[in-house]
Every structure is written in C-alpha cells, then in structure tokens.
C-alpha cells in the first residue's frame, strides 16, 4: 500500500511539471536562504580560525581567562616563556604579540590581526608565502596578497601599522577573511610601538613527540600561575563559538523567514494539487482506499517536493560557494553537515505541516462524488 501511495504521489506531481518546478524552485530558494547564510557564517568561522589552525602551535597559552583571539586582549609577563619551557612535553615555545589594528596603504584600510613575530619563530608565522620573504625584520611587514592588490601596493611598498610605517617584504596567501586580515611585523617593532614593556600576548607551544596537547595544556595551567592554556582544537572551538554567538540571531531570523516562505510554497502547491485531484481522491475512496492511504499520498507529495527542493537548494548553495571561490571576494561559503541536518529537519517539518490542510480536505471528500457527472477521465 505504501507503493501505491508513493506511485500516486509521484504521478500526481509528474503530471503537472510546471507546478512541480515552481514548487521545487520556491522551496529550494527558501531553504537556500538558510543554507547560504549558515555557509557564510561557517566560512567566516573557518577563516577566523585559519590563523590558529595554521599557526603550527599545539597549545596556546594566554592570559588567565582569555580563551580566544578575536576581540580580546591578552597580556602575559615575558617570564612566562621560561616557566612554560620547563614543563615536560613542551618541545618549542614562541612568544608572540598580537593586537587587532587597522592597517592602511594608500586609500585602502583593513582590520587586521597584527602579529609581532620573533626572528626564526617555530610557530605563529605565515604558512603560505605567495611572494617575497616569510621572515620579518625591523621595519618590515608581511601582508595578505589580496590586501596588497586592493591597496595597489607590492613588495617594497609601505603600510601604516600600529601607528608607524613598515615596508612590505612578503605577501601571504590565505590570511584574509570577510572580517579581517593577518599582518606580520617583527617582535621588536611591535614591542617598541607598544612602549617596550616586557610582555607578550600569547605563547605558542609545540609539544614533543608522544606528548598530548591536552595533557601539556593541563600541566601548564597547573604549574604556571595566571595563564590559560588550551590545545589548538579547544582554542579554535572557542573562536568559532564567538562567531556562532554573534551570528545566532541573524541566522535564526533568516531561518524563520526561509521556513515560512518554504512552508507557504509547499502548502500552497500541495493544496492546489490536491484540490485539482479532488475527484480522483473520491474515486479512490469509492474503490475502497482508506483515508490513511490517501493521506500518505499527500504526505508523499509534500515530502517529494520538499526533498527535491532541498536537493536543488543544496546544489544551488554548493554552486554558489564554488562561484564565490572563483571571485576575489574574501568570502568563503562552508556547507557544514550540521547545517544540512538542520535544514533537512526544517524541510521534514515543512512537509508535515504543508500536508495538514490538504489532508483535512481529503478527509471531507464524499466518495459518492463518483456518481456525479462532468469530470470524465
């Protein structure tokens, strides 16, 4: 009987392809709204955590209570470096200075994580150099290649940073996001620009072979007072949470809009399709089909429409993410499994709700409609 229901649903949908296309298209666009927005925020989160991920550090040591990089300041005494180095499992330690600042070149300005990097740093430096050097000395800076292109500067050009000026010695790749970029200056310059205090922002630790990042982080927190130490994974998760928290309301609102639009589209098309086949349902009832079989037909119609809409919406969003990747935009669309899961649940709820009205309509169809003249098949 399940087969009969699905067959009828497929045929009913297939017989009116224009209506089906409109329905699937409407659902796809509505669901894409949520999917694309989720993907944009996931992309931003990915971009924001790229520096942490690619820094080469296994453990991030910060001022006590500081658990992420974005929109926070961390200040540790330089003596922390020696204290951390003495802990078992620590292979290397790189102190960095970090501040969120605006870098400028010509008319172009960009918010940047400015990283003060010691010479020969084992971690924390640029991971992909497109042009020039990966090492920064006094008076030098490495900026993202996209920023340089937009600003119209090249190697040897000048960038304003931390209230001074630095000469571009390297152009990095993959260090820009929708919200900011990463620029690298020498540790000494950074410290001097900040008044020369013996502080650092973070200590980046690599662990020795056989040691676990979580174990080393726990040991650091136990033995070094006034610090918070997290594994790279934990630090990234905290950074992502910032983005999620900031975007939650926007995503919720857009998801509700998408949900309502998709629901309206599916409900309307399934209702109209049911209305158009009212007599068919009467015939089936007269022939002995139970109401629940007919309800299944309507539900299957809604489910097929929504599933097709979801598939098209996913395809559309995936295509969009590829297209965006081909542009110069510092934007990344990352379609995550959890986002697809969420939208699929949305879609299932939409299908169920959209079927309610047509099901009520079918429930009221009198099977004796078969004896009324005027609708030959």
């Amino acid at each position: 009987m399940m087969g009969a229901g699905v067959l009828l649903a497929r045929r009913n949908l297939g017989r009116d392809r224009v209506r089906l296309a409109a329905s699937v298209g409407g659902i796809a666009l509505a669901l894409s709204l949520t999917l694309a927005l989720d993907a944009i925020y996931a992309g931003v989160a990915n971009q924001l955590t790229t520096y942490i991920e690619r820094s080469g550090a296994d453990v991030w040591v910060a001022q006590a209570g500081v658990r992420n990089l974005h929109m926070v300041a961390s200040a540790l005494p330089a003596s922390v470096v020696d204290a951390v180095r003495a802990i078992d499992g620590v292979a290397t330690i790189t102190p960095i200075l970090e501040a969120t600042d605006t870098i400028a070149a010509g008319e172009e300005r960009a918010v940047a994580y400015v990283i003060g990097l010691p010479a020969g740093a084992a971690a924390g430096g640029p991971w992909d150099i497109a042009e020039g050097s990966a090492q920064v000395g006094p008076g030098e800076i490495i900026v993202d290649r996209g920023f340089a292109r937009t600003a119209g500067v090249a190697l040897g050009g000048t960038v304003e940073v931390l209230g001074g000026q630095a000469r571009i010695v390297g152009l990095s790749s993959g260090t820009a996001s929708l919200v900011n970029t990463v620029a690298f200056v020498s540790f000494g310059d950074f410290r001097a620009m900040r008044g020369g205090a013996a502080v650092i922002s973070f200590a980046l630790v690599t662990v020795a072979p056989g040691a676990s990042a979580d174990g080393v982080a726990a040991a650091i927190e136990r033995r070094v007072p006034g610090v918070t130490a997290q594994s790279r994974a934990d630090f990234m998760a905290q950074e992502r949470r910032i983005v999620t928290d900031m975007s939650a309301d926007v995503i919720a609102i857009m998801s509700i809009v998408g949900f309502v639009v998709a629901l309206a589209v599916v409900a309307l098309t399934v209702y109209v399709a049911t209305l158009a086949r009212r007599r068919d349902y009467g015939v089936l009832k007269a022939l002995g089909a139970r109401n629940r079989v007919l309800y299944r037909v309507v539900l299957a119609q809604a489910a097929i429409s929504v599933a097709a809409g979801l598939a098209v919406g996913l395809g559309f969003t995936a295509s969009l993410s590829i297209l965006v990747g081909w542009t110069d935009l510092d934007l990344q669309l990352a379609i995550t499994a959890s986002s697809v899961e969420k939208v699929a649940v949305f879609a299932a709820v939409i299908a169920g709700l959209a079927a309610i009205l047509p099901i009520r309509q079918i429930g009221g169809v009198d099977p004796a409609i078969v004896f009324r003249r005027g609708a030959p098949a």
Binding site: R15, R279, V283, G288, V370
Partner: protein, 289 residues
C-alpha cells in the same frame, strides 16, 4: 437453494428531516444470485443512484438491511466498509473515473495494490486482465489517449482486478457510441455468465435489456415492476418472460418472441407440454397481426 450474492431487504433512504426531508428510496427489496445480471431502469431522480450507492456500501440506508455474500454491510462500521468496497465490489462508472495521472496499467494495478497485492504481482494481474480485454497494446497509455470504449474496458478491468463477486455499473454505456456500447454489454455479460459474478446495472439504455436477466423499474424510489428477461432459443432475441409465449420441454421452460419461433422450436423433438401465458398470447398475437 442458491446462496444470494446480494440480498436487499426493505431498504429506505431519507435525506433530511421533517417537511424538507426527501425519501429517495422506499422499501426496496431485491435478491441477486451469482451470475445474474439485473438492470435497474427508471426516470431521472427516481432513486437509482441512491440505491446503487447503498448497494455499493457508499451510503447507509435509513432502514432495512443489505447483505453482500452473507455479510450485513448495512450494519457494518464505517471503518470496515472500504475493505468491502475494495474486495467485494467492482465499480464501473458512466464517466469512467480513471485516474488521469496514471497509465492504463497503473489504473488497474493500483487497486490491486490497495488490496494488499505486492507491486509486481499486482502489475502482472492487471496486465493479464487488460490483455484479455484487448488492451495489451495500451498498457502505458494515459487515459486521455484512450477512446471511450477503451476507457470503459480499463474501468472493467479495474472492477475485476480484486475478483469481487458483485459488479455495480452506473450507466456504463451512456458515453459510448452504439457499437462500443454493445461491446461493453457483451463484456459485462461475459463477466456474469463466464465468471459467475452478479452484475447490477443502472441505466437508461434500453439496449442493455438484451443482456439482462431481470429488468427492474424504479420510480419515486420504489420498484414498480419486475421484468424477467429471457433469450428466444430460436432467434436469439432478448424478451420479457412475462410477455412471452413459452413452452416446456425436457423439464425446462423456454420463452419465445412469437408463436412462429415457438412453432419452429417445437417442430423438433416432442414437447412435454405447452404453456401459453396470457400476456405472451397477446404480444404474440400482436406481432403476428
């Protein structure tokens, strides 16, 4: 005693209450045997469709009882009636009522599937029936691509697919031309006589008298007259028994359209007796004049 397929006893149907109420069917009784074809005729608004709906378990009588194959369908709960309609009754409609989105094959197989037959078996059963009815080349056609006669044959296949003992047909020839109408009548007769199903036909079409075993006249919701049909063994004409001349031979009564046919018939082996009904006498005399 033969077990009845359909046993309708004193059924009435009233729509509405009080002064505005309408008694659509009043005290109708009817017994139909397996393999019997009963034609119900009557003017528009006489209650034919209401009666058919009640016999088809689509409408509950206000009073009286209906038994189908011994089951009291008029007393059954609403929940059980769809199953009765699905397995015990085959419906044929004037407007064919095929599902426009389904192919010929699917229109038939879907009804078998509703009765619990699995997909492939349902399709096999539907295909065999449709091929028997000459539609083997039309299996994948949508109803809109079929002629009226083909649509009605699909409807007949659909009515038969769950092997019901009772077929209810509502004006089955009304939308068909004369030739196709005859073809459908022939099919319905075969359904009754070869497969032992009871067939109840509601129609205005006088031609259907030719295949009916009995003709009932419904007027103002009540059966006014009952005519039993017979076939003249000499000329093959369908005749009303009550108005025919008859003869008994070899323990069986035979009915003739005229004295001439009877004489021709009796010219063979010796008859045991000759019975002439008064109506038959009058009609035969009229014809001979």
């Amino acid at each position: 005693m033969t077990e009845l397929t359909l046993d309708v006893r004193d059924i009435s149907k009233r729509f509405g209450d009080g002064e505005t109420g309408v008694l659509a069917v009043r005290d109708v009784s009817l017994a139909i045997e397996p393999g019997e074809i009963v034609l119900i005729m009557g003017p528009s608004g006489s209650g034919k469709t209401t009666l058919l709906s009640m016999m088809g378990a689509l409408l509950r009588p206000t009073s009286g009882s209906i038994h189908l194959d011994g089951m009291p369908i008029s007393m059954m709960s609403e929940d059980r009636l769809p199953d009765i309609r699905l397995r015990q009754i085959g419906f044929i409609f004037q407007d064919f009522n095929l599902l426009s989105a389904l192919t010929t094959l699917e229109n038939v197989s879907v009804v078998a599937e509703l009765a619990g037959v699995k997909g492939r078996a349902a399709r096999g059963r539907a295909q065999a029936l449709l091929s028997d009815l000459g539609l083997g080349e039309r299996l994948d056609f949508l109803p809109e691509k079929l002629s009226g006669g083909e649509k009605q044959r699909v409807a007949i296949a659909r009515a038969l697919v769950n092997d019901p003992p009772l077929i209810l047909a509502d004006e089955p020839t009304a939308n068909l031309d004369s030739k196709i109408g005859h073809e459908i009548m022939r099919l319905l007769r075969a359904v009754a006589k070869q497969e032992g199903r009871s067939v109840v036909i509601v129609s205005h079409d006088e031609r259907i008298r030719d295949i009916a075993d009995r003709v009932l006249w419904l007027e103002d919701g009540a059966l006014r007259d009952i005519v039993t049909m017979a076939t003249d063994p000499v000329c093959g004409m369908a005749i009303e028994r009550e108005r025919a001349v008859s003869a008994a031979r070899d323990g069986e009564t035979w009915y003739f359209c005229s004295r001439g046919c009877r004489a021709e018939y009796l010219g063979g082996p010796t008859a045991e007796a000759v019975i002439e009904g008064p109506a038959g006498d009058r009609q035969a005399a009229d014809r001979e004049r």
